[in-house]
Symmetry: D2
Subunit: 336 residues, 4 copies
């Protein structure tokens, strides 16, 4: 498969290339960046030096499509909708990292306050929840927080058991991108933790869409994100109040049945942590039931740049091309 | 005031001495440590070198009391109850860092699974919630998590408004003490976050006791702690569901009235963070109201070793001796 | 003493205010910042909230001088020389944080590639090496690296013993200032270490000036700086080759005699570390002699924002006003 | 190739398995650990869960050899010499991580203060300096610091140009192993840097042996290690004083000729950093010449657990079996 990446200078693009370097079927043929046109990829992504002998180009979507079987679009929200139509016209497969096609159009316009110029259906690319990704040609790659949160709660939502779900998520700062900001300034982030958008983060809409798809009655969904002094990872603490008390065994069975055959979901004894998933496409899930209460605490751990972005994108690509979803992704995490 | 510290080799003892070094009325006269008997305090607490010319001693409670006006007991849970009675007999004032006297006896025995050998009333030393600390001779210094959580929610609890409270707390690793463990091992903690005791941390009992004291009808209280890669601080994200929708102004007024004259509570615009309180006795509190919902997210930030332990202990000491509570504590945080 | 700070929005200004908050004789009366004019100091330096009720002002040097007994100038290199003359004319004492007056004029112009518009003598403000600071009205506050390096090697230089000195320094990233940059971007700095200006850092000139003042024959001085994933501190590893082999006892005696009565120099058994000096004005020094060789490794540890900047500035201020140099600075470090 | 690992519960063993998971020719058949006998490898190395379905066993060297084509011995210094003879007798290839066979016997006994019970020649396994690794059956895998230091200076040593070399090395704390200690305790390591064994680290002997092999006249070699708040990596700052002044071009040519065809040595413009090599087997090298002086500063960056340990071991294994040295190792680093 010949692969094009539109917008390759950020963390998502770099991580795509890191992972694709070990993919037996993939060959990156074009990476665009307007500002770094002509520079070696390894000058920006210094860890890719000598692995890639490739330069950033300033190419139109059509030019990228003409060289590629599949194109990853890693461009800002609102920009993808300007690029996707001509890629689709060119007949390539597309995996879009932006939010443009993740939500129903009217929800998107409300949440992102942007008029959508290309309203269109796309599969929401969490393969464990959307097996219909297989053989698709256009997938909206999910947000990082929604991936962790949805995977944590999906089995209970699917069983119609959730009364109220409070997602308290902790993300590494790489989720904020490669551009320096006040929040990412080392003296501000080290030894700190920063809650933000306490009640109004845009990813809440994705979580709600996914979970209410599984349980149309489920409305009470809260989400609060934090950044922690860590580069990668999202730990989601899902405080779930269920409609009836459930035992550990019952919940274990629900999760086991739901995820039993999914290679990238590891149901763990004990409490998941970023340490175990860093660098890998795994999502670790564990839980504990509060005695004498209808509260369950479910923890999910992912690497935000892998299962929360570029790894999941490759998983989607594999399925879109009829490959085993593990192809090129069956690697351990990076620890210590 | 002549001050004795029983158990001075840990972080709480070291922080007491750090803070007391600048207290105009305090003079540390005895610090005990069995294992470091005869060693200079500055050999263990290297930041105190030259500030203190004092050695650890292996002294009985009676010997410490005989030299002191007030004794801080920084000993493990279950040990304080063996030390406190003789200190009280000796007529000194006591501030106890252990959990032994924080809870009603029957609750203590259930939560800590220890038979209490000295059931006795002590004031629970959050001065903002317990003005009766003033002129007391025996105060149970609160746990770090309960300090952050109780201060975040107390005004709403006091107004009888809380339906359900979910406290999701993030602590620096210093809360786990000065002894190396697997969790505190740098390669395990860096770039990680570790949730633990998802539904069963013992500090939940303190939070519940404090809040139900303010609102006897409030029962639905959940608490989940995490350690983050930070040395100090506790950020508490309080997901509060109230009985009726409240506006930002109403909540601002409730908090303003409740804490208006409290010097160490800073109600901030924006979202509190550890950065601003590190090293100081301040508790910063901020909040946001979810639109069209009965959910409020309240964030409190404290330094776990100061307002969550030794600073609050000195604040209590000041009040017990009739001093201004700010004495020796009116210092800025440590940033960047 | 009424104190003015010209350029108060950076780390140096914030740290000055943090330290001066506990100084019994000092009163900050004016803090300037053009860009933050009218804003509360505590909005920028959030750790100073409620400690200072003071706003940034946009004032001329003359206006600041008219209110102050002493003015700290925390402005960029090249800017101080435009401010200092009128401050001197106004008769206030001045402590300048810039490099403008640290070096002999011809050296300054060569190293900083700026034409000096106000060539003038100033005392170089490392009080342990320049007792003539006392009663001065104008002091050039030293660079952070030169403070650590000069204090590490001064006793041996003074004894004329050094053949060759290689200073390998490791600094916290706060030394690079409060403005976000690529280097200070958390994902770039965490889990990394960045050497820079391997042979050409401008602070080398200050180190050379200081050491050759003590030993005119000493020419072989090398300096290489690094930033480490730490907010504060400078650890200097001084690889010193001496003219003749010296025993540990001999060196201990040389350092003891040289620094015996200096309150802020702690000669430690064992190896100094940032942990012990963080937040304080101490400089810890330790060393080891290589067996059968003329090499000595000397380690000094300082907090770059305290002894390397604002603390040393206050120490200078104390001496300039005839106070004990410890006034307001005799506080322990901040650990853990 | 069937692979046995003796001592697989530490970081070196875990990293071997992480890397071997992607090696097309390797199959791990036995991993020993006395203390974790019977436990799944993924319970200890949680990032390896589901990648390996393998349990630790308590096996003799003979038993491991009987199943394996090659055995990695990751056991303490002094223990390897008890295991290696019977492995050699069994006819398997061996790569030993301990120091037991790295040094000439008399040097080993002096430095490690252990009587050697199996004096024997082994190739010192830095393949870039020891092409004779190819087709060997017994290789002593080098220390992490010596790998970084020797690679930094070897071209100049080989050219007979070095007068004096001062190696100032900064290592991540994972080099100290998986067992918690006071130094690795998060509150001690965070925001700190710890120099240690200022003049007497045992790795100096390896560096000296390697460099004096290349230049028998080179005697003046100093080495001082530090641990920094980072999990992985070693940055070596080599302060090299050469016998005659050399231009940047001349040095560039010397390094280019020496390492031109070595796939894992990347000669970089600019200054190497841990960021670029983390997780990979690359050693990045850069340098700067001090103007008007005979001093050159050379920086090398490696991942201590990869090129400094397990990656280099696999590189050695590849060569010992006649494979391309890049096999299974040609992967990018892990960034951000």
């Amino acid at each position: 498969m010949d692969i094009g990446i539109i917008g390759g200078s950020g963390y998502t693009g770099g991580e795509l290339m890191r992972l694709l370097a070990g993919h037996p079927e993939a060959h990156v043929v074009a990476v665009t960046s307007r500002s770094r046109k002509g520079q070696q990829v390894g000058d920006t992504h210094t860890h890719l030096r000598r692995i890639y002998d490739l330069s950033f180009e300033d190419l139109s979507a059509e030019e990228v499509a003409s060289r590629s079987d599949v194109v990853f679009t890693a461009v800002p929200h609102g920009t993808a909708m300007q690029v996707v139509p001509s890629l689709l016209d060119a007949g390539v497969k597309i995996i879009d990292f932006s939010a443009d096609y993740r939500l129903r159009t009217e929800v998107f316009e409300k949440v992102y306050k942007i008029k959508h110029t290309d309203p269109r259906e796309a599969v929401y690319g969490i393969p464990e929840l959307h097996p219909e990704v297989r053989e698709q040609s256009f997938v909206a790659n999910p947000g990082c927080y929604p991936t962790g949160a949805s995977l944590a709660a999906a089995p209970l939502a699917s069983a119609g058991l959730i009364e109220l779900a409070v997602f308290d998520s902790k993300s590494g700062i790489s989720g904020a991108g490669a551009e320096p900001t006040g929040v990412s300034h080392y003296p501000n982030m080290a030894e700190n933790i920063q809650a933000y958008k306490l009640t109004s983060h845009r990813h809440r809409a994705e979580i709600a869409q996914e979970l209410s798809r599984l349980d149309p009655d489920l409305k009470k969904i809260s989400f609060t994100p934090h950044v922690i002094p860590s580069v990668r990872g999202i730990l989601t603490t899902a405080h779930i109040f269920v409609k009836e008390e459930l035992s550990e065994e019952e919940i274990g069975e629900i999760y086991g049945n739901f995820y039993g055959d999914k290679p990238f979901i590891r149901l763990v004894k004990g409490i998941p942590m970023l340490y175990s998933v860093r660098g890998s496409n795994f999502c670790d899930i564990g839980f504990e039931v509060e005695k004498g209460s209808n509260r369950i605490v479910i923890i999910s751990a992912i690497d935000n740049l892998v299962k929360g972005a570029s790894g999941q994108a490759i998983q989607n690509m594999n399925l879109m091309f009829g490959l085993d979803e593990k192809t090129g992704l069956w690697m351990p995490g990076f620890a210590p």
